[in-house]
Structures are given as structure tokens and as C-alpha cells.
Symmetry: C2
Subunit: 698 residues, 2 copies
């Protein structure tokens, strides 16, 4: 991909001398910052801005690595053909009028993809804003030239955005604000060829990039994306647009219906260490802090030392810290003694540390210096949250000295400030120069600290074993059962047979063909038993009155057997099942997500599911540690730990069940969805009491 980022020569196809036009902006932007050879291409000019202009790209001399294309959509195909023939490795198509405009445009775009397949030329776009590299000052884009006229501040966050206009507008907003440090901004448009994964791979290796922030509406290859994120040492922040529409897909199983509204997305992102964002500026805030402190915060939950000039700000900060699951640090006796040196006698040191009376006594420079030194060196502090006031009588805080303290201690420093606007911008630029993240809202600052905590947790997991996905031991048997089933929905009994081959504990049961077989089964299983009628192709038995609990005698078995046979259509079967006593009711499942492929789910079942949507997802197969992490993300921790004297759930066994469920589903592409519902916990161990497997139409 180097030819896109550091080309040895750039052709601008569709360059023009009309200063109001896009084809001019692209050329102008190139001239401003790009030091290599620039070749305008347009048959209507001999020269533009002092550069020789070529009638077609074919005439352009070597070396030329990149062609930026801005000609009408109908003309793009020929241009790309020419570029490919000319041996140019990459084209960046900034023209619109392709798949985003409907059927005709879609065909134009498909023609480009065909050229890509045939010739190997890489295509960035179409309908994109290209690339801005703030370090090299390369602008391969028609983005407004004015951004260079203001004091642009470079940084370590690289941006990948699937939104042409937003790329431009947002970039201008960010860059002219001076607060956000961007390294590279890539607008990927319709992603006909080059997509977010290609760019992520490049950016992960890019020394100028400290963190990657992505705005995406779709993910072309979800598995590759997750794999890149999970192995990446740089923090990844993703704002996924269109979460609310996610529930629209048809779902046959509970598992699939529960995957909507972003639960699956959040699950696989958490598993891969991706930090999720919800808004544009917030995404940049998160990425900026993570780029500065890529290792996150070591301890979980991190203990935050709060230094403030206002008791109220300290209180509000503490409320946010608790809301985000972090802790306000308890300060050591040493720290308290050091702080007391600058405090007035009447004022005890508490945490959050209110510095105001000390500042009145000793001035801000001395107080902030000594307080930060004390708190940064406190072994009970993992992150320092410092509040500052900017302007007025309040000058004199030496930023560079403060950040050196932080760097020496190796702990993240995050600041919030209030102040006079006239001073604020200067202050923000100073802070940026010193690599200190500063925020205007306490809530946002703490949100970023919470992201540092999640990042730290993910980093701690890195060395873990990858899943030993070896389904050999069950593949043959499960394969035979699935093949016998053909297609459609596997009934409860057959579904549990398949689950059983994968090592998933299922309730003891017998498919009884005669009343005598039913009686024998009941005697062997012990009373009470459950009788269920299995109607071929029907998943919901309860609604059909085909489930009979608490069958307590041989006579009752016989009577119930007869009743069920009457209700059942031809081909129906009767199951006699051990009755699992009431216990913690869970639901577990598997599905194949169109974006992320095989995933498993575990959640609260039955009546519990009606109080709170307590369910979590992960990409499968997953390893036992990932399965334990998944369980730790459930809300019902106290129920798992044993409630009102119940034995705690054996998390290791439950985790293994999820590992096996994921392996099974992943191993057989014909499996579309699996429901285990309910999965009842009995003496701390989960048992699949009912199940269904949905197969792809074969």
C-alpha cells in the first residue's frame, strides 16, 4: 500500500485551471505539500499552475505510483484501464456517481472491480475524499485548502472514515480546532476494493500512527477485522454507524433475535479489545488518550488520584469515576504528609484532593507541582486526573514540568479545565505540545479513563493461548447426525444428541416409541419425569401444549403418553425426560453473523430475561479464558456466585460448554443457529434441558 501513502509521482486525472472546481483543489492541495513529481492530466490544457499538463495518463513520464481521479463517473472506467495498462499500482477515485446513486452507478462500480481483478491495480474509492497526511503534509484530496491556513496541529491518531462528506467536514472541524492530533485521515468511500482492513494493516505498521479511529457503516470482512484488532498493539476505536437498524434481519432462534441492537457488535468488539465510540468527537477524544497511553491502565479497576481547584469539581469527578466502575484512590500516608506541606493547617488532606485553599496560600505553580509529584508517586494511584483553571490570576502552571513528572511515573495524566476562552486555545495548544490530554467536560475525561482501563485489561490478556480449535473428536459423529437430519430445524432430541457429541451436558431422556417404553424410561429416570411431544418441524412446544411437567407415576406416564399421541401429527414422537428441578435459568446459543461469522451467546433466561437484557456475545471458536471473560461480562454475577444459599455456578464447566458450543457451530457450516433454552444450572453445573439447531436450507 506504500504507493498510496508515499507515491514517487502522482497523476491528477481531471485536473483543471478553474479555481472554483474540485479538479483544481486536488492539484492545489498537492502542490502545497507534496514534494514529488505532479502530473496534471487533462486534454484541454497544456499547463496548469506552471506544471506541464498531459492529454491522457498514458503520456505521463515515470515514476508515477498514484493516480488521483476526478472525472465524470462514466469516464472513470477508461481512465482506470489506462492506469492499469500504464503500470500505475494505485488509483484513488474521488468522483461520485457510483454504487451510492443506485443501479446504474452500481454497474459502473462493478466494472472497476472487474479491472481490479483482471489487472491487480488497487482502487481506493470511488466516492471518497482520499488521504490527508498531516506529518508529511500530503493532501491527496479535494478537502478545503483553507485547513492549511490555520495552525494545524499534527498528532498520532489515524482516522479511517466511510463517509465522504464527514471526512471533509469533520477533518476541517478537527484540524482547525487544533485540539485533536491527527496523523493520517483516510476516507474510504464506497470501498470497491481498498477497505478498512487494508488500511488498518498499513496503519498498524505505520510509525506515525499511535492509535486508529474508524467510522464504519459496514465491515467488509468482519473476521479479518477482529483478528487485526485483537493482535494489534495499537489501540483501535470504532464508531459503528447504524446500530439501531441492526435488528432487522430475520431470526429463527432466540439467539439470533437477541443479537440485534448492537449486543453482538459490542461483544465481539470487547473480545477483540476494540474500544467502542458513539459520537464523532468522542471517538477522537478516546483515540487521542489511547494514543498517548497505549498500554492503558495496569490495574483493574484503576485507582484515580483527583487533584482539583474546586471541591464541587472533585465531587462531580468522583461521581463519574464510580459510575464508570473506576475508583477514587485512597492516598498513602506519605502522599498526605507531602500534600499537608502546602496545605493550610486547618485543612486536612482528603481524596479527591481540593487544592484551592493551598493555592490561595502558596500559589498554583508550587501547589500543582508538589501535589502532582506526591500523587504520581503514590503506589495506590494508577491514573491522575488534574483540574486546572486557565487565565486571570491563575497563570503559572508549568506544563512541561508536570508532564515530565507523569512520564517519569509512567502513569496516565488526564486534565480537565475551565477558563477564559481567550486563554483556552493557547492552553490547549500548549497541552498538546506537551502530550497531555485536556478536556472541557469532566464526564468525557472520565469516559476516556474508563477506556484506558478496558485497554489495560485487554493488554493483560495478550499472552494467552489461542484457541486449540480441534473439533476432530466430535466431528465424525456430529457430522453423521447432521447429515441424517438433512435441513430445516433439528428437533429437541436430535439437537441434544448433536450437542452431546460436542461434550455439552444435556438432560437425560429417552425417545419412547411405545407406552411400555415410556414407562420403562420413567422408571429408569426416576419420578417426576417430563413428557414432551415432538412435532416434526415445530420449535415451540409449549404453545402447542406438548410439554407436561411433573408426571409422577406409571399410570400418569401412560395417560400422558396417550394424550400427547392424540395431539401429535403423523411422524410425531414422545420424549421422556428427567425433570430438572428449578434452578438458575440461562440461555446459550450460537449463530452465524453475516459480518462476523460464527458467534456464541450466553444470557439470562426465562423470567430473568424480562427484567434486563442480560446477554453477551463473542466470536467463536473462543478459548476457555475468553469464555470466562465472557461470563464476567454478564450482569448477573451475584446469581452465578450462588444466590440465597445455592451453590455457585462452576464457571469453568460453563466456560467449557461455550467453548464446545462455538467449536461445534464453527466446524459445521450447515449450522445456522443453535438455541439451548433453557440451560438450567443444577448443583452448580449447567444442563441443556431444551435445544434446537437451525440448519441452512440445503
Amino acid at each position: 500500500m506504500d504507493f498510496f501513502f508515499t507515491p514517487r509521482g502522482v497523476a491528477v486525472i481531471g485536473a483543471t485551471a478553474s479555481t472554483e472546481k474540485t479538479g483544481y483543489s486536488i492539484l492545489h492541495n498537492l502542490i502545497q505539500g507534496y514534494a514529488g513529481a505532479i502530473y496534471p492530466v487533462n486534454p484541454r490544457y497544456a499547463e496548469i499552475r506552471g506544471l506541464k499538463c498531459y492529454p491522457t495518463v498514458v503520456e505521463v513520464p515515470d515514476p508515477v505510483d498514484l493516480a488521483i481521479v476526478f472525472v465524470p463517473a462514466e469516464a472513470v472506467r477508461q481512465v482506470v484501464e489506462d492506469c492499469a495498462r500504464r503500470g500505475i499500482p494505485g488509483v484513488m477515485i474521488q468522483s461520485a456517481g457510483f454504487a451510492e446513486t443506485g443501479e446504474h452507478g452500481r454497474r459502473l462500480q462493478e466494472a472497476l472491480v472487474a479491472i481490479r481483478s483482471r489487472t491487480g491495480i488497487r482502487i481506493w474509492g470511488p466516492n471518497c475524499m482520499g488521504l490527508v497526511d498531516t506529518r508529511k503534509r500530503y493532501v491527496f484530496s479535494f478537502v478545503l485548502p483553507s485547513i492549511w491556513d490555520q495552525d494545524l496541529v499534527s498528532g498520532r491518531v489515524s482516522l479511517v472514515v466511510q463517509s465522504g462528506l464527514l471526512a471533509a467536514g469533520f477533518l476541517i472541524d478537527l484540524m482547525t480546532a487544533g485540539r485533536m492530533g491527527i496523523a493520517k485521515a483516510c476516507s474510504i468511500g464506497n470501498k470497491a476494493d481498498v477497505n478498512e482492513c487494508d488500511l488498518m494493516e498499513y496503519l498498524i505498521a505505520d510509525p506515525d500512527t499511535g492509535a486508529v479511529a474508524l467510522y464504519l457503516e459496514s465491515i467488509v470482512d468482519g473476521r479479518r477485522f477482529l483478528e487485526l484488532c485483537r493482535r494489534c498493539e495499537k489501540p483501535i476505536v470504532v464508531l459503528k454507524g447504524g446500530r439501531s437498524a441492526a435488528g432487522a434481519r430475520a431470526a429463527l432462534s432466540h439467539t439470533a433475535s437477541l443479537a440485534g441492537d448492537g449486543a453482538l457488535l459490542s461483544g465481539v468488539f470487547a473480545q477483540a479489545g476494540v474500544i467502542e465510540a458513539t459520537d464523532f468527537t468522542q471517538m477522537m477524544d478516546l483515540a487521542q488518550v489511547l494514543a498517548l497511553y497505549p498500554a492503558g491502565a495496569a490495574r483493574r479497576p484503576p485507582r484515580v488520584g483527583v487533584l482539583t481547584f474546586s471541591g464541587a469539581a472533585g465531587i462531580v469527578a468522583a461521581d463519574f469515576i464510580e459510575r464508570h466502575g473506576l475508583e477514587v484512590a485512597e492516598l498513602s500516608a506519605d502522599s498526605r504528609a507531602a500534600l499537608q506541606q502546602v496545605f493550610p493547617d486547618w485543612m486536612p488532606v482528603s481524596s479527591p484532593v481540593d487544592l484551592w485553599p493551598a493555592i490561595e496560600l502558596n500559589g498554583p505553580a508550587r501547589v500543582y507541582g508538589e501535589a502532582l509529584a506526591a500523587v504520581m508517586n503514590d503506589p495506590g494511584v494508577d491514573i491522575v486526573f488534574m483540574h486546572l483553571f486557565v487565565g486571570g490570576r491563575w497563570g503559572g502552571v508549568d506544563f512541561e514540568a508536570l508532564t515530565q513528572l507523569a512520564r517519569k511515573a509512567g502513569k496516565p495524566l488526564v486534565c480537565w479545565f475551565l477558563g477564559e476562552q481567550a486563554e483556552a486555545r493557547r492552553f490547549e495548544l500548549e497541552a498538546r505540545a506537551a502530550d497531555v490530554p485536556v478536556f472541557r467536560e469532566i464526564g468525557r475525561a472520565v469516559e476516556c479513563m474508563a477506556a484506558l482501563a478496558r485497554r489495560g485489561e485487554h493488554a493483560a490478556r495478550e499472552d494467552r493461548l489461542r484457541p486449540a480449535a480441534e473439533p476432530a473428536e466430535f466431528a465424525a459423529q456430529a457430522g453423521r447426525l447432521l447429515a441424517a437430519a438433512g435441513g430445516g430445524v433439528l428437533d429437541e432430541h436430535r439437537a441434544k444428541q448433536v450437542l452431546s457429541t460436542a461434550g455439552i451436558p444435556v438432560v437425560d431422556e429417552v425417545n419412547a416409541e411405545t407406552p411400555a417404553a415410556a414407562r420403562a424410561a420413567a422408571e429408569r429416570l426416576g419420578f417426576p419425569v417430563v413428557l414432551k411431544g415432538i412435532a416434526p418441524g415445530r420449535v415451540h412446544k409449549t404453545e402447542l401444549n406438548l410439554v407436561r411437567l411433573g408426571v409422577n407415576s406409571l399410570q400418569a406416564v401412560e395417560k400422558t403418553f396417550a394424550e400427547l399421541c392424540d395431539l401429535l401429527p403423523a411422524g410425531g414422537e414422545v420424549l421422556v425426560q428427567r425433570q430438572v428441578p428449578a434452578g438458575l435459568e440461562l440461555i446459550a446459543g450460537f449463530l452465524r453473523d453475516p459480518q462476523f461469522g460464527p458467534c456464541v451467546m450466553i444470557g439470562a433466561g426465562g423470567v430473568l430475561a424480562e427484567v434486563a437484557a442480560d446477554r453477551v456475545f463473542a466470536a467463536a471458536p473462543l478459548d476457555p479464558q475468553e469464555a470466562l471473560d465472557l461470563l464476567a461480562r454478564l450482569k448477573m454475577q451475584r446469581l452465578l456466585d450462588g444466590y440465597r444459599g445455592a451453590p455457585p455456578v462452576d464457571r469453568r464447566v460453563l466456560a467449557d460448554l461455550l467453548v464446545n458450543l462455538g467449536r461445534l457451530g464453527a466446524a459445521f457450516p450447515q449450522i445456522r443457529e443453535i438455541d439451548i433454552n433453557p440451560l438450567i444450572v443444577k448443583s452448580g453445573r449447567p444442563v441443556a434441558v431444551d435445544a434446537a439447531i437451525v440448519l441452512r436450507a440445503s
Copy 2:
């Protein structure tokens, strides 16, 4: 309180000519904006800034309504005595060194309160920053004089803050930013006398104030505060600092322990129509939007028409709209036809409305004008959310014309924008001049729309009946039972007898003194029964093995009775109870909150409570409609509506139970807490199965 806000003359006690000192800043600020007579008081000067200076306040000529005091804490008492003797109705004490500094300061402050009680003089402060009135340009404060040097933008939000420094710093920040329109800012300091309720009463009547925003760490008289809020036609926004510490109080009942972490606070605020804030700037954002649209949004949930220049921003906006429980509007055929007039042919109109291709075709001025007209007049739209880009080729949107459209339609218009920073401030000032709220983050804009929705809901409730709190019908009987109990914790049986007098349905039970009585009771109640041992003064029976469920025969009754008698200490009793079959398990309760007085609670009980903290609070007594509103705030709506074939809960009956519980608790001051746990729903009707009443130590 007029003498504080529009005094006919102001004495500045502690005025000085040293320009670096606070006593100078106060005087300087007064001279800058206050047109009435100003009287510096300081025995060391004959004149300051051309004003005659008086040795003490006693010599100051009439009229003088207000004394601003900035002398050392030790000297304040004498000054206030002098003011009272002089007949000055109000003093504003800006000196620090009182209760905030410890025991000695607390005594100094108490002395001031004593003067207030004796003489009737009103005291604002001490340890406060006083008052800033941006309309009159009165600054009765030592806040940095520089705020007047920048372009201050007045507005309709009045601020009451319990934080001296934050008042100053935050005010300077807001005012110099120019985005936030403040009417009055009141810093109330230690609240020795004048408190948030006094100021709220004044501001509610103040024609310059459209909404009140308060930062409070304590609320002096919670009931008066709630009553002011609930009757007030102006929106009230409260940021309550110190939520996370709220759980610290000793709790004997479940109800009281569940009141922590802000659940009670959120409950009584919701009941009173208060909008809760979590951060300083966010509080101002909320208040600003509510001041512009005090009636909120009429429909619930409001339907938001989104006009955007970016598909991505539209998608992110839709995600936030769904997350906050609002809806993206479906546009009418008329609106779509009108929009299609400015759209290119190839582009269909969808919602959110992406205007970008239309803007490219027809320019922003025409497109925004026509699009806003169409969407504002659409009967299916309740709020319009408009996205704008500022700067560059994008000028030409006529704000005044747009807002006139909005005003004519009578619907809230909220804007989000991106743009070049150089243009942004001018844009924000223009928007403010046209009374259009503009935001830099989509999430914050939608949060404010959600507040409009809550406000609209509260406004719709206004005409409702106040509670007919007439406890006469049960007072005598309950009073006798409570008097007989004396103090401590009422046991289950006696607690339920008291509840029963208040019309709360309780489980049928008998206090059986002999085995024969127990057998007779069991026969009458019908098997199975429950036997419970009641140990005097012990609330937790399960842990003592004193609860026996499913007692199924006369022999079993006799045997269990004997076992319980063995376990019980002297004075123990045995209850025989009808066994209520398993059903929806709730918990209801009552407590006396130190700040807000009598409150009731309803929530998920048993195992449900372990999945999610599903509990809601309201101030008691409450009327039946308030009780229904309270039930509507529970998460478990689907369980209340009947789950898996269970009959729905009779909400009217459950609401009446809460009304009666609140009346009972409120009527008897000796009741500290009541637990009904579990409250089981049986055939749709709630029954108190176990209960306890905690009385105040008598």
C-alpha cells in the same frame, strides 16, 4: 428578596484601594454596572475611586438595601450586627473562614445565624461569590472583572451554585465562551440563611429567567424544594454532587439500603419534573434548550425529523435517537414530495433526510429553507434536528428565516454543526441571537431532546389532582398497634396487621399459640401451609432456619410446630400462613429520607433483583396517578403485563397499595422504614407475604 437583586443602594464593607485585592474587585465590579449609590466602607480611606468612603456602615446614608461584606471572618459578626441595627435588610458575606474550615468557623457561622433569628436580617453566604445579573449588568461579586471585557452574551438561564470557586471559574468559562446565555448567577456558599429554595422562589417569579439550573451538594429542605419544582412552570435542571457517597447511611431495611447510589434522588426528581444533570456544561446545555422550549415536546415519544448534510451524521443521530427512547420521524407524502423538488432525480427522500446531493445541486440556502419548511410543517414531526456545516463554500444559510419557520410551527429546532473554528464562534453568536440551540456533539443534542420529551411529559401531568392524604380511616387502629409495639422492629405478624389497617392486602395467617391452634389454622387455610418462627427483634428468619415452606399435612404441622418451638428463644411465636404459590416477586417499601422525608419504593424482588437494580422511588404521600407513573418507570414492564401466560398485574391495585403505603408511613412519624418483601403477585393481585416495620428509637 428584592433587596438582594435590585437594591436601592449598596455598601461595600471591606472595600479597598489596592487593586490586587478582593475588596477592590467587588467595588470595581459594582462601579462598572450598578447605577445606584455605592458606599465603600473602610476606616482606612476617605475616598476610593472617587467615592466617599465611610469608617463603618453606621455612617452610610440612606437608602442602602444591601451590604456586601468582605472582611476577615472574625470581624463579620460585628459588621452584621451593625447592618441589622442600621436597618439594612440584606447582607451578602463573601468572606471565607466559616463552617467550611472546621469547628471554629462553624461557631462563627452559628453566631451569624443567631443574629438572623434575632433581627430578621437576611444573610446570603458566607463563603460565597454573590450575584451576577447579566441583563442589568450587576456584579455583586469579586468574580474576575475581565468577563466584561469580552463579548458577554446574556440569556434566560439562571444559575444557583453551591460552590464558591466553581461559580467563579464556571461563570468565567461560560461567559467568555459566549455560547451559554445566563440571566443571573447566584453563588450561595455555606447557605447559613438564604438557600436554594429562597432563590428558586425568586427566580421562578423573575421575568428574566426562563429556566433554573442548580448545582447542589445538599438540599436544605427537600420537601419544599420538590414542591417548588413540581408546581413550577419553568424547567428546573439539577446537578446533585455527591451521589456516589449517598449509600453510606445506616440502613436497617432493604428499602433503605436500596435508596443509595442516587435511586431515591432520581425518583423524587422525576416525580417533581426536575431534569437531572451529571456534568457542569451538560447542565447548562440542558437548561439552555429547556429555557428556549419550556413546554418541551408534546408527544411521547417525540418524533424527530433529522435534516443532515451527511449520511453518516444522520445514521449516528438515528442511533442516539433510538438509544434515548425517541423516534426518527416518518415523513408524510407531502413532505417527501416537497423535498423531492430540491433533490436530484436519482435520489429518493429517506429519513433521516440527507440533503448533501440536493445542496450540491441547488445550494445550501435554498435547500435548507425548503427542507426545514417541509419538515417543520409535517404533522408527523415533533422536533427538528438540523445539521449544518459552517465556513468554506458553505455560507448562505439564513438563520433568522429558519428560526422564523420554527417559531411559526411551534416546534423545537435543535442544531448540530461542524465547521472551521474561525467561523464557529461567529456562527454560535448568530445562533444565540436567533435563539437556536446549537451543539458540537450529536449525542449532547439528542440528550437535550430527550430532556424536552421528559419536560413535555411532566407538563402534561400538571392538571392532575393533588393527593387526598386523608389517613383518618386507618389512623386510629394503626396508631393503637404502633403504640402497643413501643419501639424497635415490628415483627412480621404485627407489621402485617398494621399494613392491613391501611388497606394493604396481606397473606392470610394465624399466630398459633398451641399445636392444636396450629392444626386448626392449617385446616382452615388449606394445605400446603407455611410455618414461621418469630423471634422477638430478629428480622432475618431464613438465616435462622425459622421458615418452613410446603407443610403438607396435620402431622407435619405438629412436628414442624415442635421443631420451631425448640429453635425459638423465650417470647417466640409461631405463625401459620397460607402458602402463596410462586409468582412475580416484588419488593415494596417506605422510608424517611433525611433530605426528602417520606418516600415509597417498588422494585423487583428475589432472584430478579440480582440481575438488574430495578427499583423506583417517589416522595410520599403520592396520588394514584403518580403511583401509576412510578410503576411505568420500572424496567420489568413485560413481567407486569403478564409473562408466559401469567395474568397481567392489576396496576390500579398495585398503585393503590403504594398510595396506602405512603399514607401510612407519612401519617406516623414514629415509622422509620417499612419493608414488604416479598410482595407476591397472585392472579394479577399483589399480596404482602412478609413484612417488617422499623420504628424510631422511642
